[in-house]
Amino acid sequence: MKDSIIRITKMIGLGFLEPVIRLIHKEDPQKNIREIFRKIIAPIASIIIFVFLWNSGANALFNSLSTSKIEKARDVGGDKEAERVAKLIQSAKEKLNGEFIISEDPADLKALENNNVYAVAIAKEDGSYDIKSGLTPAEKKEVPVTLPSPFQTKNAFYTLLIDYKVVRANKASFKEKTFEMNKKRVANGKKAITYTGRPSFVDQIKTSLKTVFAGFLLALFIAVPIGIIVGLSKTLRGSISWIIQIFKPVSPVVWLLLVTMIVTTLLRNSDSDSSFIISFISVGLCSMWATLVNTAMGVASVNTDYINVAEVLKLKPLQKITKVVLPASLPLIFTGLRITLSVAWMVLIAIELLAQSPGLGSFVWEEFQNGANDSNSKIIVAMFVIGLIGFALDRIMLFIQGLISFEKETI
């Protein structure tokens, strides 16, 4: 019972809970308390220290920018103006770092009179929200925009969450409105009208994931077969290695341009979504090298014992590949695929940013261009989301690798 719980927690990546489970079962308390300290308390402490350093750094930047803003105001409008700006900045700062109230009761809007409320979102019946910002227009005008503090980032996270719900409600009502009309249009052989409004943050994440998976699959279907062929033939390895050596270090930006050249020419008469095609092909081409190299290496270095077995059993060439060579090189292929997926995710953001294709990359870029009070905070939220998704993708690959691979030690 205990062991199976531990195994399951380890499998889903919660291995750090092991000492807690052991402690609950009264197993070796001294050792497990030490383990809890090492695996749980110490990491939590490091998070607290991180947030503290971040907060003080952000505060320092905010204050330094405020001072220069106040001085500027003094130069322009004298001491009175400086005092006014200083006051606004002070109250804006309190509000920026304040609470984000989500409620169903319109009476809660009164909370906006307090100095420590960033915004209030009141739920509407259709699932949408009314959002009222705590900052007055005058405060918004004067507040310095710099590295956001952890609290501002938290508020930006809530903003994005509420925004997602609003967009979701919009979509639902749009669907309801156009349902009958679309039915007629489809019946008449016309295209249905689709929602073309603003995408929410969650939509951006979905698009990015879609692009990264398309790119990853492309890399898989190109790199693994080529890797196997290259790995099997020494001649081919020699003749093709220059391609790998030269193209592997090429920057994602250049790949994007190359793919754009080709795809725009090929799709000049088509109305398909070329930005998506361009970005996923670029992602695939950038990230496939790790898998290609690893597959070729894995196939080339299959243990001679296994090859001898294949010979002695007289396996036919194709069977030799499917029954011996491929399974034997699977651990290395999977290591390559793991690297490919993480590279794909990293490269994707840059490519979306440049290719203007929807997704997290363009979200970050648009927010940066936007320059609103909370744009920087939203960028930081996106940064954490990107990091967490990358981490999750890696864990998923690790999990699949563990299921497939026969060498349990590689985990």
Partner: protein, 283 residues
Amino acid sequence: MAILELKNIYKTYNHTKEYKGEILDNINLSIEEGEFVAIVGFSGSGKTTLVNMVNGLLKPTEGEVLFKQKPVTGTSHERGVIFQNYSLLPWLTVYQNIDVAIQQAFPKASKQEKDVRVKEHIEMVGLTHATNKRPKELSGGMRQRVSVARALSMNPEMIIMDEPLGALDALTRGNLQDEILRIWETSKRTALLITNDVDEAIYMADRIIPLNPGPKATLGPEFKVNIERPRDKTSLNDNPEYKKTRNQIMEYLMDLGEQQAAQSTVEYELPEIQPKDFRWHSK
């Protein structure tokens, strides 16, 4: 009639001017049908090279390997091989490991016949309880049993064993020797055993041939083992025939060892160099 014949085998690897890499020279051997022959030799004397030429993984540089009067050009299901390091496919279960061999050897048999055959051979080596285990979960002795079952499942006319028990502990080794002998006696296949253990060779084989250590290893004189089968391990030690054969072979091998040691007592003059500490000068 000889089932296997080696004629004037000469084998060399990576032939260059400085390094000739000559492993085997002037190897002549003939094995009768149903015979159990053991080749005994020091490690590194070229035993595995010799056995790989018999099973078809390697080709002799000069000379011929004849199996049933036909030259050996590659591996064949007629010669089952048991490797020293088991060589099981670690991603397959015991059942699947044997099934791969049977699929190859009997492509035309029905699914059910194949299944029966796999199970039969697993039972033969007493591993029915481990049918669905992977090699990683098995002990060394169990793995080698799977390897034996795999080799025999193809119904070979000859079993070639390359130090099959070399990596096992003494007790498991003894058990497996008995098991291999039992299987050999019931099916009366021809067997070629490569080993570095003289006792094992005497216990199992009809005829023992030492392999003189390389480079350019040749086969020594053959020793017949005139002990009746089934042989009993415990009483074997008191058998005068056993003692005689063992002494002869040991004497021969010891002589060889001494000769080789004498050959390699060339003295080299070493230059006088003081070790220098480079650790702090690495910049």
